[in-house]
Symmetry: C2
Subunit: 323 residues, 2 copies
């Protein structure tokens, strides 16, 4: 029996940090790393490798926002089989902070970008690749990208050294047919690249879309324990672990993390299927307007929120930022 080629990239700390401003204790992260190892998960994305000097308000965030190798070594004195990953954003990473891989705790560096910055992202990828890291490029907000732009990006990607190219459903607006369409498009146009998928759960389709992608040859599957991630959250790690066939994953260590850490955390912090996030997902837009609503006193007034988003002549500040 052929082993399932899927590899899970657990993003609990990185994407979940967008919920609690990376306020995870060292014990939390250590327990998570231990559990993911025991569960057989291939990658743990332990945070962002952005530089605090390139980001406003950096001092308020937890250490997982700006990973430092010396700090990481104290957190994880002994690495297991689960590799460590970090995400960087274009324009927020100081290249001089990136050690050669053999001196670093990190194995994989992923570059997130919008379609217009694919060229810049690939320059960063080249740098990380030259320093020995595995690399991915994660093109966000694909549901808002026109075909001609995507095809141009594919040309650049095909000429690059990047290992894995991600299909990212930033707004949680894709259904299985959209996912099948994108997987086919990426496979056809990037015949020599491996693929990854990152979903959001606004419409309760994060897990099912990830399954569809895996079934059609997408190899790296982003997930987070109990779905913790910005706004509606991500594909739940526990569902992939329990449902994917012909894998070596075990569910029990993930349940231990959920019982000990995620259930109490969910009492304090909010993510998941929440109606304003469903609305932004169904309208195929960024959740920032819904996040603003959820932080307000009017958080359960989804009718007014829906009216504002769907009435063209109404100006609704928090929904109008850059994408």
């Amino acid at each position: 029996m052929k082993l399932n080629p899927s590899k899970i990239v657990d993003c609990t700390i990185r994407d979940g940090g967008l919920v609690n401003n990376w306020d995870f204790s060292v014990e939390f992260v250590q327990d998570l790393y231990k559990g993911l190892n025991e569960a057989g998960i291939e990658y743990m994305e332990i945070g962002y490798k952005n530089s605090p000097k390139l980001l406003k308000g950096a001092e308020a965030a937890g250490p997982w926002r700006f990973l430092d190798d010396d700090f990481l070594r104290t957190v994880i004195p002994q690495k297991g089989t689960t590799k460590l990953s970090a995400l960087v954003d274009i324009g927020r990473v100081a290249e001089e902070d990136i050690l050669p891989r053999e001196e670093s705790m990190l194995d994989l560096i992923r570059v997130a970008c919008y379609i217009k910055d694919v060229d810049k992202a690939l320059q960063l990828v080249q740098t990380f690749h030259d320093r020995g890291y595995e690399t991915t490029i994660n093109i966000m907000a694909l549901s808002n990208v026109m075909e001609n732009e995507l095809l141009e990006a594919f040309e650049l990607i095909n000429e690059s050294v990047v290992d894995v190219v991600y299909i990212v459903d930033s707004y949680g607006s894709l259904d299985y047919k959209d996912m099948l369409y994108l997987v086919d498009k990426f496979k056809t146009n990037l015949p020599n690249k491996r693929l990854g998928v990152h979903t959001h759960n606004n419409m309760q389709m994060a897990f099912s879309n990830t399954l569809v992608a895996a079934e059609h040859g997408v190899e790296l599957l982003d997930a987070s324990v109990y779905g913790m991630g910005r706004a509606a959250g991500n594909c739940p790690t526990e569902l992939l672990v329990t449902h994917l066939k012909n894998t070596k994953y075990t569910l029990r260590p993930v349940l231990e993390i959920i019982d000990k850490h995620m259930i109490p955390l969910r009492e304090k912090e909010e993510w998941g299927y929440i109606i304003p996030y469903m609305i932004t997902g169904s309208l195929d837009e960024h959740p920032r307007s819904a996040m603003a609503l959820r932080a307000s006193d009017d958080k359960d007034n989804s009718v007014d929120f829906y009216d504002k988003l769907t009435t063209p002549e109404v100006s609704f500040d928090s929904s109008k930022g850059t994408k």
Copy 2:
């Protein structure tokens, strides 16, 4: 442009009643009926048409457990375009309580049964059909049915007058490939019957599986507002309303119901993606053991629960009842 043939059967009161023992106020049900009409939803399943004299402990349940036509007329003095449906269970319905359709508030009567009772279910269907109702047969727990039993049942169904045959994912254990398999099986073997689908959300696949079924010709789609239903709940009505293409549905009236009734109700009652229900779903079994756990003081101890369900030699009473 061809209008989408899908028809939504909103089961909030009937399946949601399994959560709160049908303790919905008349105002709640009236608001729901008004909202479903405004949203363009075709059917509202307003409860069970079982007979209290055939069921123990009946006196404790709300009136939607044992629908009475005189009572229904006071609740809905003026019917809109949304038809009314009731579910009956084998052996719990007194045929003498069923009025001819022209004297009744109900339009559709659905018979739920396990595979071994398909013959009895079809006898009931014949009675309701003769009294003028639209009818469905809902074969529960299909994921636990062997092929030969199913094919025998199809023969009986093909000889019957039943209008619609349901694919029911009682345990929330099916993924999109299972759903495609069942839809194909039902279509091939029941060429002259219309199909319906009823899903549960244990693995966060209720909505996506319903979409897959709809896309492949299944016409009646069960759902409930905010997903309210036993244990992990159902496919959320709001997601079908907003996502199905070429329909006349409008989301706003469903949001009004959610804001006014479902958000406060969810504070008091529990349903949805909850880890013990995920576990029973992934193990393809009835959620009753998880429901017992959630009613206990140990409700968030999913590791012990998982150990009990997956250790063959451990006897675990609440998981051993009849299916």
